[in-house]
């Protein structure tokens, strides 16, 4: 790409044809993508293909559009830039690389977040002051229950997941089939919260006492002569029953990260403590736990953020009825059930304010540890 070449006339000529060709290709590519998206939107487009082939044809088109489309766009735009004078190309090129990402982030995160904050003050009921969405949020008994429940979730789920995960990581570290054992605890991480809710909805199933129980837990309770408990219908057990699901899902995450941390503790450290006469338990609490403190904070804060935004489990199992409401579900209901968008934005801001401090602790802690990709 030396400058000398550019000055030669024949090459210049060839370049002009190259420009024309690349412009035509670019327009063609963009036109094809646009056309493809139109076809994808059209519910009738594949109807004559029959149910199965129609669906699969639609899938193929969607995949080609989504995957090849994004690459084709980058390639054609880049080919156009290569035709600019070297100086201009240099200036434009970085923006081709970052602008698509920045544009998406601006449209999907920056603008909406600012808009949400503004709307939470301006989109108020007739005659209300600028804080009326927030006043309503904190005085509406249903929202109060949601906030109270979020606090209960936050107090129980992250701590329980960390304790069980840490205990299991430390115990599994000392058995023969460690990685096999860990896989069993780890797998729930791949399961959706909806799936987990279905799994546990069945664990909690309740039948009239004395009849055959189909839910495992009530089966056990009845086997030992106890009275079956309607876990998902009895207040306040229902909230705790759903917190258990979250713990079941998150222990695997805690275990993996803490297990990696435990294996990073130098053996000399625990050996030295042992020689000094420390018992296994003392060794665990006084040597091991303090040296993996950073990882514990990471796990705790990460699960705390997931828990604050809990939605799927409650949506699937109780729909927020029977005093199980949580903030994220309340927000969804404000949007789609009550059509109260001002209220919804206020709930989003409350959630945001709750997440920010935890996130800051998390990111700081990650930085300190130098844990990176």
């Amino acid at each position: 790409m030396s400058e000398a070449v550019e000055l030669q006339a024949p090459v210049q000529n060839g370049r002009r044809w190259g420009v024309l060709r690349d412009v035509v290709i670019s327009v063609g590519v963009i036109g094809l993508i646009w056309l493809g998206l139109r076809v994808l939107r059209d519910p009738e487009a594949f109807s004559e293909w029959g149910d199965l082939t129609g669906k699969l044809a639609q899938a193929m088109l969607a995949l080609v559009l989504g995957i090849a489309g994004i690459w084709a766009l980058f390639i054609v735009v880049n080919s156009l830039v290569e035709h600019l004078p070297a100086r201009a190309a240099e200036l434009v090129r970085p923006w081709i690389f970052v602008l698509p990402a920045l544009a998406v982030v601006a449209v999907y995160l920056v603008y909406p977040a600012i808009r949400t904050i503004i709307q939470s003050f301006t989109e108020v009921p007739e005659g209300g002051g600028i804080f009326s969405n927030y006043i309503e949020a904190f005085t509406d008994p249903a929202v109060q229950i949601a906030i109270r429940n979020n606090v209960i979730w936050l107090l129980l789920a992250p701590a329980a997941a960390v304790v069980i995960g840490l205990a299991f990581a430390a115990l599994a570290d000392r058995v023969k089939h460690e990685s096999l054992a860990k896989t069993f605890v780890f797998v729930p991480l791949a399961i959706s919260m909806v799936g987990a809710s279905v799994i546990w909805g069945y664990m909690y199933a309740w039948r009239v006492p004395g009849t055959d129980q189909v839910g495992f837990i009530n089966g056990v309770i009845q086997f030992f002569g106890g009275e079956p408990i309607p876990f998902l219908f009895e207040i306040p057990i229902n909230t705790y029953a759903m917190i258990v699901i979250m713990i079941w899902l998150q222990v695997g995450f805690a275990m993996v990260i803490l297990s990696a941390a435990i294996k990073g503790v130098p053996v000399e450290l625990t050996e030295a403590a042992r020689i000094d006469g420390a018992s296994e338990l003392q060794n665990f609490f006084k040597v091991l736990v303090p040296s993996i403190r950073g990882s514990i904070i990471t796990v705790f804060t990460t699960i705390a953020i997931v828990v604050l935004k809990v939605f799927d489990i409650v949506y699937t199992l109780t729909g927020g009825n029977l005093e199980t409401e949580v903030v994220a579900l309340r927000m969804y209901d404000a949007m789609f059930r009550f059509r109260n968008f001002g209220q919804a934005t206020a709930m989003a801001v409350i959630l945001f304010l709750a997440v920010v401090p935890i996130m800051i602790v998390n990111v700081r802690n990650l930085r300190k540890q130098g844990i990176e990709a």
Binding site: G215, T316, A348, N362
Partner: protein
Amino acid sequence: MTARTLRRTGMPNRGGWPVKLSVFLIVVLWTIPSLGLLVSSFRPASEATATGWWTALFSPLATDWTFANYANVLGKGGMFDAFVNSLIVTIPATVIPITLAAFAAYAFAWVKFRGRAFLFAVVVGLLVVPLQMSLVPLLRIYQATGLTGSFLGIWLAHTGFGLPLAIYLLYNYISQLPKDIFESAYIDGATPFTAFTRLVLPLSYPALAAFAIFQFLWVWNDLLVALVFLGTTSDVSVLTIQLATLAGTRGESIHLLSAAAFVSMVLPVVVFLALQRFFVRGLLAGSVKG
């Protein structure tokens, strides 16, 4: 995690039977819920709704094992269409953000331009914004532009929500690549674009794979974004929505519900078990998703 490296562990000595027993107990406790569902999905309706799944395990020969539940949910239950829809949503919603993020991360790391540090700080700062902050204004834009219920709409939504993390992860990796390889590539006449496709992409595959698995599972298992932007109409409904709807309407038909749940879980669990190695890396670094 699975690597059999030199054992330099904090607790090097093997545990006795109490340790083994507790590990075994936790494994059993963690497996029973899924096992119960798996067993039920192969039991006929008459048995599954009458007795506990464990009775089938105690008398496997008396049980009328069947695939009928799967046939039922895949056909009438709409789980096959939902499975295809989930694929249509998930694959581009994984590839698009990775592509955008890899380009951006590369430029942030290796190409000089004005405002680079500031813009990168903004992108990373967006990690703290929960996606709930975007829902209301975005829904309004989508309703105005007709993007609700379209695959393009949900691809872009997942792309937007996934990008800050993707850029952050990939930047951390790409910025650590040795400087010399770029210099020699430029001397050999590479443009930044070819340097990116021929050098950066192949060299950063562990980071790309880690994020890919993370995003794949996130999108596949997502309920909220799909509910808000895609909706519950059957021609676009994804697995999580279909399953949640079944759970609401057919809560008592456990044989169908369990089969449907397994249809929705099989792909992520397989992907996850096959690529655990990368996933753990993604988890370690991806724990900051907003």
